[in-house]
């Protein structure tokens, strides 16, 4: 039976990813500056940050493609430098840029992968079908990958990354450059994966709304991890919720808000707004105790964009623009890749 093994993997004490004092230096450029990180088994972990923050370098180190300059990293309990093959057996990878062979069919691409990973021949057909059906490409399995759209290729790469049942699946910008519909279907697969396989998902993304789906997120900036927590906790750490109400009598409402709830409301364009912790829980009390008829109410939570701004001092887009400026200022600094 396979189930006990899954349970073991899910509850194992070994973290899926464990990083201690990891650094990577390219000449004068210190891409990663001593980071510590633990990713629990079974969680979906988001890795955020502008380009040039060191995300890709970190992923390359975790995937055994780049040796670190200092520090250690373990994936599925195996050291990425000393036990490269063990790590490779346990990880699945979906890169930002396609790594499919356009001149092979979808199925041939997957078979190549199955052979390279030495999967038992008897289970390959079933496994192939499972992953292809999961991403909705079973009917297109005989088509050449060169005829696929960007979204289909990404789905096929995800299927391929899962073919060998990795313990940790790395997704580097899995939805970048895709239309909203494909983006949401890819997130559908990711959520389904969490239900059906004992898998840890480690992903990088630019999209703050996608980071919300993660169990925990880390924000990386200039080679360091600036903060690591659940999306909820991060948003709460940034500030209170903003509650906006429209009332029958704004003056009375303003007075009551200060007197009953001890908040400092502001009135603008017929809307009274104020900050409060845990806005959703506050609303019932507001209706019960304000004593002024309320016509409408809205609660806005701080977004992860706000979180990003507060920890890195800029929005993710501004941060990228400034990185680009730095790159232009130093024409000899090139993006290093393997």
């Amino acid at each position: 039976m396979i189930a006990p093994a899954i349970e073991l993997a899910r509850h194992t004490a070994v973290p899926a990813v464990r990083v201690r004092g990891l650094s990577k230096r390219y000449g004068d450029l210190e891409a990663v500056r001593g980071i510590d990180l633990d990713v629990h088994s079974g969680e979906t972990f988001g890795f955020l940050g502008p380009n040039g923050a060191g995300k890709s370098t970190t992923i390359n180190i975790l995937c055994t493609l780049t040796p670190p300059t200092a520090g250690t990293a373990q994936v599925a309990g195996h050291d990425v430098v000393l036990e490269r093959d063990e790590v490779r057996r346990h990880l699945g990878l979906v890169f930002q840029d396609t790594t499919l062979d356009d001149y092979l069919s979808a199925e041939q691409n997957l078979r190549f992968h199955a052979e390279l990973y030495g999967l038992p021949k008897t289970i390959v057909p079933e496994r192939l079908r499972t992953v292809l059906e999961m991403v909705g490409l079973w009917d297109r399995r005989l088509s050449l990958v060169g005829t696929f759209s960007g979204g289909m290729k990404r789905r096929l790469e995800i299927a391929r990354g899962l073919l060998h049942s990795p313990r940790v699946l790395f997704l580097d910008e899995p939805t970048v450059g895709l239309d909203p519909q494909t983006r949401s279907s890819i997130w559908g697969y990711i959520r389904e994966l969490k239900k059906s396989e004992a898998i840890t998902i480690f992903l990088t993304t630019h999209y703050m709304d996608e980071a919300e789906y993660c169990d925990r997120i880390a924000i990386m900036d200039a080679g360091r991890i600036v903060v690591l927590d659940t999306p909820e906790a991060l948003k709460q750490s940034v500030g209170k919720d903003v509650v906006q109400i429209r009332t029958a009598d704004d003056d009375a409402a303003m007075e009551a808000l200060g007197r009953v709830f001890h908040v400092a409301p502001v009135r603008r364009d017929g809307v009274v707004s104020f900050d409060v912790a845990e806005g959703e829980r506050f609303v019932p009390r507001l209706f019960a105790e304000l004593g002024v008829p309320i016509r409408s109410v809205s609660v806005a939570r701080p977004s992860l964009d706000d979180v990003f701004i507060s920890f890195t001092g800029s929005t993710i887009r501004d941060a990228e623009a400034s990185t680009a400026d730095k790159m232009r200022a130093h024409p000899f600094v090139r993006r290093t890749r393997t």
Partner: protein, 283 residues
């Protein structure tokens, strides 16, 4: 089976990736080879295009130069050229095959291979076998038209030529891979290949006999590894046609065919070993 597995709409059967073993390295070699064959076979225009150059050499150059030689003397030039032209054709096919490694790097597929739990040597070996197979197929097509230039369709001769072609193709691909492993762009690969291919080809005796040359040229031709691949094929053809030939000589003594083939085999092993070492270091 746990409840969560049954509930989900897609029941996923987990598999375990086995530990790295010699058997799995063989599977990796086979699939890398297989991919190359699929791609070679799909690319029919490339096969046709690569036949044009040897046919030009054989019929246009061969026939044109023949008119300078008085009839009835010596070996028909086209028969003489045949082994050299096959070698040339294989040279291009194999180097192009090795170049696919550079393409793979440019188009990302290389990463798929690099993160797999297999020896880098298995990938290199698979590539070399793929190029070798492509080379032999290319050679076989030329042997098929060999009758037009007086090459008899003798099973023993054909088998000998194909076996020697296999060795040559493997060696050439290994050499090509050795170059391709460290190169990042297709442009520079092409440039370097042109630089290497032409001297290899011209000095190999593919186009002219290697005996009675000026001293400096004699030395250079003896240093060209391709010399030791062209000569055995020419000897096989001449032997079948009962034409006497001295073959390649070292200081006047003919080099035996097994020694020549041994040199080619040794070169391919060296190239393969160095290429593997470079490839393992490349990341």
């Amino acid at each position: 089976m746990s409840v969560s597995l049954v509930e989900s709409s897609h029941i996923v059967v987990p598999v375990l990736v086995p530990e790295r073993s010699f058997r799995n390295d063989l599977r990796a070699i086979k699939i890398v080879w297989h991919r190359d064959i699929i791609r070679f076979w799909r690319d029919k225009p490339r096969i046709v295009a690569s036949l044009i150059q040897p046919i030009l050499y054989l019929f246009v150059l061969g026939s044109g130069l023949s008119s300078m030689i008085p009839a009835g003397r010596g070996v028909p030039l086209r028969t003489f050229l045949f082994p050299g032209v096959i070698s040339m054709s294989v040279l291009f096919t194999c180097f192009f095959s090795a170049g696919s490694l550079v393409w793979d790097r440019e188009f990302g597929f290389m990463r798929e291979m690099l993160v797999a739990p297999v020896r880098r040597g298995a990938i290199v070996a698979g590539k070399c076998l793929g190029g070798a197979t492509a080379g032999v197929l290319q050679g076989a097509l030329l042997i098929a038209i060999g009758g037009l230039v007086g090459i008899p369709y003798d099973p023993v001769l054909i088998a000998t030529l194909l076996a020697e072609l296999l060795l040559l193709s493997f060696a050439l691909t290994a050499f090509g891979v050795l170059v391709a492993v460290r190169i990042k762009g297709m442009q520079s690969f092409m440039a370097i290949m042109q630089m290497l291919l032409m001297p290899l080809f011209f000095l190999s005796g593919a186009l002219f006999p290697l005996n009675g040359l000026p001293g400096w040229l004699t030395v250079l031709t003896r240093l060209d590894p391709l010399t030791y691949a062209v000569d055995p094929m020419r000897r096989a053809v001449f032997e079948r046609l009962a034409i006497p030939t001295a073959g390649v000589t070292w200081g006047g003594a003919a080099v035996p065919v097994p020694v020549e083939l041994g040199i080619v085999a040794a070169m391919s092993i060296v190239a393969l070993t160095v290429a593997t070492a470079q490839f393992s270091k490349a990341d």
